[in-house]
């Protein structure tokens, strides 16, 4: 009888479909593609503003496929924001006097900051129009 060496399973190419949490992880990571897209989009906008072609840009942005793309980008960046701000307390454990500040407090703080900053940005953008 020959004794085989320990069995090493082949690589599982579809590992990210095996559990819900792995799929969520991959989705979370893939938001970064839309983060990149959003940045590109904003750069295009800034370029248009600075070169006085805002009107053309608005027309481009109003194309249905552009809107569709940006709706997805909105969902992705929002998903990114929620997950990223929720995970932050993992790296930054805050201790006051030996008492560990619970995760939800930090998360709540992060989300509040998000709201406030979003409000400020919206205010500055929309102020005079």
């Amino acid at each position: 009888m020959t004794v085989r060496a320990p069995y090493r399973p082949p690589r599982d190419r579809l590992w990210f479909t095996r559990t819900r949490s792995a799929t969520v992880f991959v989705l979370r990571e893939l938001t970064s593609v839309f983060v990149a897209w959003s940045v590109v989009f904003l750069l295009l906008l800034a370029d248009a503003v600075l070169s006085g072609t805002t009107r053309e840009f608005a027309a481009l942005a109003a194309r249905p496929w552009m809107i569709a793309l940006n709706v997805v980008a909105l969902a992705a960046t929002a998903f990114h924001a929620v997950t990223f701000l929720n995970l932050a307390p993992k790296a930054t454990v805050v201790r006051l006097d030996g008492w560990r500040v619970p995760d939800w407090v930090i998360q709540g703080g992060n989300h509040s900051a998000w709201l406030v900053i979003s409000g400020l940005i919206a205010y500055f953008v929309l102020r005079s129009s």
């Binding site: 959003s38 800034a46 608005a58 960046t77 990114h80 990223f84």
Partner: protein, 113 residues
Amino acid sequence: MKRTLEPYLWLLFSGGGVVAALALPVLVLLFGVLMPLGVVDWPSAGHLTALLDHLLVRLALVVVVVLCLFHAAHRIRFTSEELLGIARFDLVIAVLCYGAAVAGGVTAAVVLL
């Protein structure tokens, strides 16, 4: 001790993650969805130009762009390696991803400054 660049990349990635989380959703919502759909009106060109008039605002924008791109580059690097099992090409992938981010940053600087 082995030197590693990862701590620096990770700081950029984390900073980018925070900036992207705080700033991007509302900008995409306004400029990418609500204005094109006509839910809110486009601000006047003058107002937008005025916004970008401050050097500080433009500098801040460059920083946001660079950080967000680094964030994206970092994640895309690791996720592609995990998803496709190509970690052995890490060096190439890293150069491509961060290279793209740097290129984006340079573009932003050229456009804005």
